[in-house]
Amino acid sequence: MERAKTYRKPGVTERLWLGLEKVLNLLTTSAYNPFYYLGAISIFFLWIIFITGIYLFVFYSISAAGAYNSVQYLTVNQWYLGGVIRSLHRYASGGLVIAALTHGLRHYVLDRYKHWRWVSWVTGIGMVLVIIVGGIFGYALVWDQRAQFIAISLSKMIESVPVFGMPMSISFARIENLADQVFYLLLAVHFFAIIAVTVLVMIHLGRVAKSVINPPKVMAYGLVAVLFLLSFLRPAVSSGPANLKALPQAMPFDWLYMFMFPLMRYMTEHELWLFIVALVLIVSIIPWLTAEKKNPEVQVTKENCTGCELCREDCPYGAIQMIKRTDGMPYELEAVVVNKRCASCGICMGACDYKALNLPDLTEDALKAEIERLSTELAGAQGKKVVVFNCAKGAWPDGVLEAGGRVKGFDWARIVTLQCIGMLQPSMLSIPFENGIDGVFISGCRMGDCSFRSGNEWLVGRINGYRTPVVKKSLDRSRIGTAWLSAVEKDAMLKELGQFHKNLK
């Protein structure tokens, strides 16, 4: 049976990005590639900001007269602790913006932001906005010349929106007008940002069943080391104290947070608001602007479902829910698919031993029939023969789909391409061996970067016997080869396939 299903090859930008990650993998291995942990790195920075923030708050004087001096006390008199903590707070904030923006950009470039991922995309944008607002208010708290500039510019922006009452600019016009309450307000917004980000993080991860919220230990130590390095190399310091009788002059400027203020030199406050709102709206609706037709969602064959919950356990997006049995079968539960969350990855198919889940465009029966067909076709060939299971999101040779699973120069191999390697059901691995094939080679996404989050990891667990359903013990593991590579590493994939073939006994 010829398969009608086709898969998209990565575009130029995607290949460039993956090429960069390939280089980094040479240095760090994919287990520690920071690009695979940008979300977790962002959360790690949030923790550092939170913890260091508590210390800074203890010493902070919430008043116009005391704010600057209290920060200076930490920076100068207590440079060995308070000064370092202030620097960690500052640089973790900068790192947060870099990590969060790169995280978003990576998901955009790698086409991981549409359909079922829209909630994460939109909340991600919300988080960046809240982080920037929180950071700006944090800078204002220092009450140095930079803070003075921020306070004045921010006030103009805020009061240009007619819903806000008393113009804050009056408070920042004369020192006599500046009440301590203003600093309470600044601090409240700064604190609120952490709360808002926490809520948004929870929504952001709400549709991700097995979210990675902590970077690996090695990376966590690395991040701390980098922050300390920056803190000692260039400690965070204040500029001169705010002086409302003079215009703030040259100051150390944090472009990660304050990038919009220089635009006020060229735009009115209303134009700047319009620019910001338009930019945020456009970026927010990109998942819908660029959406193509979604693959059909997985379907449950209720009479085959035993309610074992393995599919729910393995689904990376929480798209499968277990409900009380509705058909009188002697099982407690049955699986139902939440279509809007379904990524059509087929990982649940790989988890099901009972043919209860099927992608409409690639059923388990059709897939098994294809494995059987290719195995039979190959069985008559001379020498050692290999059936390859290939993830469509990982490395796979050009033209293999059109050639019906054949690759030029690899006459001893036939390739079965899957939406995600996680849809490889354990019993499928036995089919080639039952048909006289000598080895099975599995090629999936880089570890830590499965396009559907966990497919490769689950499969390794099934083969190694620590994740059900397990591949049967009687299968000779030395005849199963694996390669975990990204879409730009097809040459490496073929090389490893060749090596595996050569080493087969």
């Binding site: 980094l24 240095l27 760090t28 291995t29 287990a31 520690y32 590639n33 920071p34 500052r90 640089y91 900068g94 790192g95 870099i98 790169t102 500039f149 009061e159 008393m166 113009p167 600019s169 009056i170 016009a173 004369r174 007008n177 090695v218 990376m219 130590y221 690395g222 991040l223 080391a225 980098v226 390095l229 920056l230 190399l233 260039r234 003079a246 215009l247 703030p248 002059q249 040259a250 100051m251 150390p252 400027f253 944090d254 472009w255 990660l256 880089r446 570890m447 190694n464 016997g465 620590y466 030395s478 199963i480 080869g481 694996t482 390669a483 975990w484 590493e489 994939m493 490893e496 595996f500």
Partner: protein
């Protein structure tokens, strides 16, 4: 090189834990320095000045309450109504305060209008509406202007009684503004005058 090659049989039933690797730590830290450390260090410390050293500013910043549009003394009305209430109380059993009469006393105030000219050039001619749902609170006046340093003649007129023909407060003063200086023009409630400081 891919991450893992062949899958070995019988690796146990638990996912193996990785020890902390010093080489990996050094490599990861190097990558983090390049992709996070350096951008943060550079982008958070670039010197920038929004204002040129050859710029100064004048800010018009104060709050002021305009006069009432209708000259209605709420206190007198309350006193009067209280007196009537007490009188009636002596003869009647069921009486009530005439709240409608009090509500009929409009509280709305005039906007505060500020005209500002610097060296004869009009910089500001704006009416600042009173705050509050009933427009019965103070007006908040804020505007700022970047000007070149030097000697400037500042002329201001403020109107708070709705009559644009007669200013309620005026100021005509020559000020010497140094580079980077900020002069604040405000209404001083104590002296009932406009002042530049």
């Amino acid at each position: 090189m891919s991450d893992k090659k062949n899958v070995s049989a019988g690796e146990g039933t638990k996912k193996p834990k990785k020890p902390l690797e010093i080489i990996s730590f050094i490599r990861v830290t190097a990558v983090l320095i390049v992709f996070i450390g350096l951008p943060v260090l550079i982008l958070s410390n670039i010197s920038y000045s929004f204002y040129s050293p050859q710029e100064s500013a004048i800010k018009v910043a104060f709050q002021h309450t305009g006069k009432r549009i209708v000259d209605c003394d709420e206190k007198d009305l309350i006193k009067e109504e209280g007196k009537r209430y007490r009188e009636l109380l002596k003869t009647e059993k069921r009486i009530s305060m005439n709240m409608g009469k009090l509500a009929g006393c409009p509280r709305e105030r005039f906007p505060v209008v500020v005209d500002l000219s610097i060296d004869g050039r009009t910089m500001l001619d704006r009416a600042y509406k009173p705050k509050g749902i009933k427009r019965d609170m103070a007006s908040y006046i804020y505007d700022d202007f970047i000007i070149s340093p030097g000697v400037h003649r500042i002329a201001v007129a403020m109107y708070d009684s709705g009559n644009k023909n007669k200013a309620d407060a005026t100021l005509d003063e020559t000020v010497d503004i140094k580079p980077g200086d900020v002069k604040v023009l405000r209404f001083d409630d104590a002296s009932n005058k406009l002042v530049v400081e």
